[in-house]
């Protein structure tokens, strides 16, 4: 939305009202078009005329729009909406599509797109998508990434006893963190708290 301050808004309002009044009074007074020019202008009558004129115009355009919407409506498979409703709506792209809507369309229309691609949604989502699209859902083991370096808490020593804010961003300020391995995960779980889908969890 364009940010207008009050003074500008008032100005725009006055100008619009003025223009409307001018146009309709021009019509009313019969300026142009060779109609006989009136001598005096009756204000009440002018306002009435303006109102009727506006109502008429809006009715015409409204009907036009309604007709166009019906006539040119794009037919969409109702299942796309249904699928869209059950996705995780993280718009994370893990499915390989730009966003959830695109995945919903493709999984409905394209027989090759699997129903199990929404990772954040997990098994429940995959089942629902399979049911709606009528595709077979292959039983998949959840794929879990795991850090396998030697920097874990069980392997890498702590250089000192860290006391303070339990946050990796804060711990790193104290001598670069207490982990002996400077590459190792500090393990204070800032990432776990940041991920709204519970995709990351801390163990050892």
């Amino acid at each position: 939305m364009i940010d207008l301050n009050n003074r500008v808004k008032i100005l725009v309002f006055i100008v619009t009202a003025g223009l409307l009044l001018f146009c309709s009074s021009a019509l009313y007074a019969g300026v142009g078009g060779g109609v006989e020019v009136r001598e005096t202008v009756d204000l009440i009558e002018l306002v009435e005329f303006t109102a009727v004129f506006l109502l008429g115009i809006s009715a015409v355009f409204g009907m036009g729009l309604a007709f166009a919407a019906k006539k040119f409506a794009v037919k969409e498979d109702p299942r796309v909406d249904q699928v869209s409703d059950v996705l995780a709506h993280a718009h994370c792209g893990a499915c390989g599509f730009p966003g959830c809507r695109q995945y919903a369309e493709q999984v409905v229309l394209n027989p090759d797109v699997k129903p199990t691609l929404c990772t954040p949604g997990g098994e429940a989502t995959a089942e629902a998508v399979a049911r709606i699209t009528g595709k077979v859902m292959e039983q998949t083991e959840p794929r879990i990434a795991r850090v396998f370096c030697q920097g874990g808490c069980t392997k890498s020593v702590r250089r000192f006893k860290y006391e303070g804010v339990k946050d990796c961003k804060a711990a790193i300020l104290a001598s670069g963190g207490d982990k002996g391995c400077i590459y190792g995960c500090l393990g204070y779980g800032s990432c776990e708290r940041a991920c709204p889908f519970g995709a990351i969890s801390m163990n050892d």
Binding site: R159, F160, E163, G164, V165, D167, K169, A170, L173, A174, S175, G176, D178
Partner: protein, 436 residues
């Protein structure tokens, strides 16, 4: 005097100055090896001017400046460069450092003496200070010559020497004033001259009567210099608090002392300035207080820059059984260390070792109970409670809106917090996540 000068709010921690306040400054032994980080100051790091295998002498430049806000570094011993690599430093970062092995001869370079330094121009003085690699020695380590070159539109009318030494335990500045008052005053006069300022002040907390006495007699025939006994309160020695106490001027939010026409320099810096201008001596050693209940024989020592903490601690009898925490600097604003193999640098005012019974853990901190104690003590008049909550919840922008960047991490709020919240760390966390 009815009421001594001070600032609003602040705290009264236990000082424990008695551990080292009577110990005269002793010279630390010549170290076998020094590790000199190229960045010991605020600003651009120095560029190494030596390569592995080079022979260097005491006082020789081994790293040159790389910008306006930068400072050169010098060797504090004579010997051979054996490594140039990243080493841990006392502020917790890995920094490129030049390692020099002593040849045991301690040969100096020729220093350019200036017996008639009173005739030097302000620009000459600033050049001498810059070439000597002098930085603020109270801890912040801001290059001194930069502080002495304020932009033209800032008119400076006052120089304040900071002898408050409000950090508990530390006594380095105290001993300097008691033992070398004349040199400190000469340093102040040189600084005043370089800025064209007629008014000098020296602020000292009242718990150092001998230092006040010594400084008073040193300025007996100086008409422009005044000694100010200050109330014993933390953080009295913070620049802004000192200006408030002595000049009654309030540095505006996000402002600097020069915005109110003042320049503040630490006692140690004043001494280094004098030695640099009079004797041409670069900043290659400093007074360090080695203290705390975890140290066998607390002491004040003149330590060469680059000496490892472990070396210095050994000369003080080593650590006692049950020493749990080593801090570079004071207990309020210092940095906890995880290894003793870090060098003493230009900004190292103390090495503090705490024994178990002195140590308070903030491991099990709780949510803010909104007691308001921190608000009562914050010398900057901030609301540390809300800042810490914003930082905790990740609302860093909101913290910034609440003047986060006026916090200078004095730790008063953390000291009083009954919930044991790591307040300063919250502030640092927030500062690291938003731009000022």
């Amino acid at each position: 005097m009815s009421k001594t000068a001070t600032f609003e709010r602040g705290i009264h921690p236990k000082y424990h100055k008695e551990l080292a306040s009577e110990k005269s400054i002793a010279r630390a032994a010549l170290p076998d090896r020094i590790v000199v980080p190229v960045s010991q100051h605020i600003g651009a790091p120095a560029k190494p001017e030596v390569v592995i295998g080079d022979e260097v002498k005491r006082g020789q430049v081994i790293g040159s400046t790389t910008g306006f806000v930068s400072s050169p570094i010098h060797s504090s011993i004579s010997g051979k460069v054996i490594a140039i690599a990243d080493f841990p430093t006392s502020v917790g970062k890995m920094v490129q450092s030049i390692v020099i092995e002593s040849d045991g001869k301690d040969e100096p370079v020729v220093f350019n003496e200036n017996p008639d330094y009173a005739g030097l121009s302000p620009d000459d003085i600033k050049t001498l200070i810059k070439d000597a690699g002098i930085v603020g020695m109270g801890g912040a380590a801001f290059p001194t010559n930069v502080k002495l070159s304020p932009p033209k539109e800032k008119r400076i009318d006052t120089v304040i020497i900071n002898g408050a030494e409000c950090e508990p335990y530390l006594t380095a500045d105290h001993r300097l004033m008691a033992e070398h008052p004349k040199e400190v005053v000469e340093g102040l006069k040189i600084i005043m001259k370089s800025l064209g300022v007629k008014e000098g002040h020296i602020g000292i907390e009242e718990n150092k009567p001998d230092a006040i006495e010594a400084m008073r007699s040193a300025v007996a025939c100086e008409t422009d210099i005044k000694i100010w006994p200050l109330e014993v309160k933390y953080p009295q020695g913070a620049e802004k608090m000192l200006i408030r106490a002595i000049k009654g001027r309030e540095v505006p939010s996000k402002g600097l002392p020069m915005d109110v026409g003042a320049v503040v320099q630490n006692v140690g810096t004043a001494l280094a300035v004098y030695e640099a201008v009079r004797f041409g001596k670069p900043l290659i050693e400093r007074v360090v207080t080695i203290t705390g209940t975890g140290i066998k024989e607390p002491a004040n020592m003149m330590v060469r820059i680059g000496t490892l903490m472990s070396d210095v601690i050994e000369q003080c009898g080593g650590l006692v059984e049950g020493a749990v925490k080593v801090i570079s600097g004071g207990p309020m604003m210092g940095f906890a260390q995880w290894t003793l193999d870090v060098p003493v640098v230009k900004g190292t005012s103390g090495i503090l070792v705490m024994a178990h019974d002195e140590y308070v853990s903030s491991d099990e901190y709780s949510a803010c109970i909104r007691c308001g104690s921190c608000i009562d003590v914050c010398p900057m008049g901030l609301n540390p409670s809300i800042l810490s909550i914003y930082a905790e919840k990740g609302f860093f922008e909101d913290a910034k809106e609440n003047n986060l960047f006026d916090c200078f991490e004095c730790g008063s709020c953390a000291y009083v917090c009954p919930a044991k919240r790591p307040m300063v760390q919250f502030m640092r966390l927030a500062k690291s996540q938003v731009k000022p």
